[in-house]
């Protein structure tokens, strides 16, 4: 297990390397001068100042040295300053991470609460009306774009019924009740698509498990049917379900860029979106890098968790 973990962490290095190269190249590929791009043009009129800046950023050095300098600074958390707010980017980004994590976790939690019972009931009552209903609903669920679902939810629950706010954010540490009130619609929008995926997954891994011999053994020992299903089968079926829905987190984080924008949710997705709209290149660069690192690390954690939950995999 330890060897596997070390191996997996070593495998992450090339991925992270490619990520940094891609993000670094991005700024080089932008139109115009790098000084203008990085500093903003109003400051860099004076040729002497430009020269000083070129030296400071190492632009007089060859490109791989520039990459090294940039990477060295990034590793220390120094991404430069935002062109718009003039604040350090690291501060801007790290302030926005909790909101994204909050929304993502509640969304995933919600999806599991909906999907696991639905998927297992569908599997237990295979080919019944309930099963077909669950299958059709989840297939439609994965076909609806989350931003459209969000708009329709706002249309119905905010504009028509006036039950819920259409956008905004309150920190859960300030006022938990109010915070949850603002969280309901965004979390539903994150959760419904995830729920549709997870329902399909739970159903098919439950069906896999129910065909296994230990289930027959449990039945022949005279255990009650609910005990066989919910205590033994479901537990085993949940291992692949949780793993794959954890790996879906990358898609989910991508989805948050859209959803955070719709609901004015001050997370990292909205930060990147606003940076793209405002042409705030250093912030785009750093935001994508941080989001990428988060995704890669989460995938690693999920993979390791899978091994811990299911020691049998190591034998294969």
């Amino acid at each position: 297990m330890l060897i596997y973990a070390i191996n997996r962490i070593l495998q992450m290095i090339p991925v992270l390397f490619v990520l940094t190269v891609v993000v670094f190249t991005f700024v080089q590929l932008l139109p115009g001068d790098v000084i203008d791009t990085l500093i903003g043009d109003e400051q860099a009129e004076d040729p002497e100042l430009r020269k000083a800046l070129e030296e400071e950023y190492g632009l007089d050095k060859p490109i791989y040295m520039q990459y090294g300098i940039w990477l060295g600074k990034a590793l220390q958390g120094d991404f430069g300053k935002s062109l718009i707010t003039r604040r350090p980017i690291s501060v801007e980004l790290f302030e926005s991470i909790p909101a994204t994590v909050y929304l993502g976790l509640v969304g995933i939690g919600l999806s599991i609460i909906i999907a696991v019972p639905l998927g297992s009931i569908a599997a237990v009552k295979r080919n019944s009306a309930t099963d077909y209903a669950a299958q059709v609903t989840s297939l439609i669920g994965i076909s609806i774009p989350e931003f459209w679902f969000a708009i329709m939810a706002v249309l119905v629950f905010s504009l028509h019924l006036g039950w819920l706010p259409s956008s905004g954010y309150v920190s859960p540490f300030e006022d938990l009740g109010q915070s949850l009130y603002y969280l309901i619609l965004p979390a539903l929008a994150v959760g419904f698509r995830q729920a549709a995926y997870t329902t399909r997954l739970t159903r098919s891994s439950m069906l896999d498990e129910m065909n296994k011999e230990y289930v027959d053994t449990a039945r022949s020992l005279g255990f009650s049917e609910p005990k066989v299903i919910y205590k033994y089968t479901l537990r085993n079926a949940l291992i692949p379900t949780i793993t794959i829905s954890g790996l879906q987190l990358a898609n989910l984080l991508g989805g948050t860029v859209v959803l955070e924008t719709i609901f004015a949710w001050p997370g990292i997705g909205q930060a990147i979106y606003l940076a793209i709209i405002d042409h705030d290149y250093p912030l785009i660069q750093a935001g994508i890098l941080v989001l990428g690192i988060i995704v890669v690390c989460v995938n690693l954690l999920v993979d390791l968790l899978y091994r811990v939950l299911n020691p049998r995999v190591a034998l294969n």
Partner: protein, 316 residues
Amino acid sequence: MASTDLQNGRRSIEEAIKPPTLAERMARYRLIMQDALGELYKSKTALIGALMLVSLLIVLLLTPIIAKYDPVKQDYTAFRQDASAEHYFGTDRYGRDIYSRVLWGGRRLVSIAIFAVIFGLAIGIPYGVLSGYYGGWVDSIGMRAVDGLLAFPGILLYLLIVTLAREWHLEGFWNDLILIFALGFAFFPEAARLVRSSVLIEKQKEYVEASHTIGESNLYIAMRQILPNCLSPLIVNATVRLGFVILIIAALSFLGLGTPPPTPDWGADLSAAREHMESNPMIAVYPGLAICYTVLAFNLFGDGLRDIIDPRMAER
């Protein structure tokens, strides 16, 4: 008697190795099509999906005839109208006919998605076939690279590339080309890996050995003999991928990172409709329904095909 038999036999061998005439080929294709249609009836899901797809494609092909209005033409005598016999879906705030915009937008969106998936297959198939066929160190290096790319979160790549296209003021054709390139490139690792795993099984079979014995070249065996037997899982995957690609493009243009305004576009039109949602909610409904219908059609067809190709899955 015996000699005539032998002669007859020899003649039939000569006939058998003669390349088929056009008429024979057509007859064979007709048989294959009949078989395919017969298979389609085995899965209700696939049949519904196929019907939805065929009607979608017919509508999109006929768009220049059945769309009554120019999708970008503004008409200030008829803005923000409700649905009527003149304008089936009503008009938007510039008096543009929404029905025509939905049709033209779909034509563009679906073509981009199809080209993107074809591009991904065009790289992924040769890559996967050769990697699996030659094996050894070629395979290890090739698959390590694919693993790295799969770990890279695609959505971040799209955001970077779309931002670059925006900063370079790419419009129309070039913008679409960049999207096709980015979305196709993100699909290739998955396609490569899928083909490779089928090739690994297929290359153990006897016909491969037989071809080697009669001296066929490696490239011919890999691409013309093994590949056709590895296509079915790929077709399923590409179908589902088409739906996914459509969702991504729609999300990007919803964020305002797609084609600039006058071009009809489901995502961008949805986003524009948000501002007038209180007074005219229906204009936010049509483009969204169009996305749902299209993605659902691809998902249903893909799911159904999987059931037909892999009957073990259908039992579940």
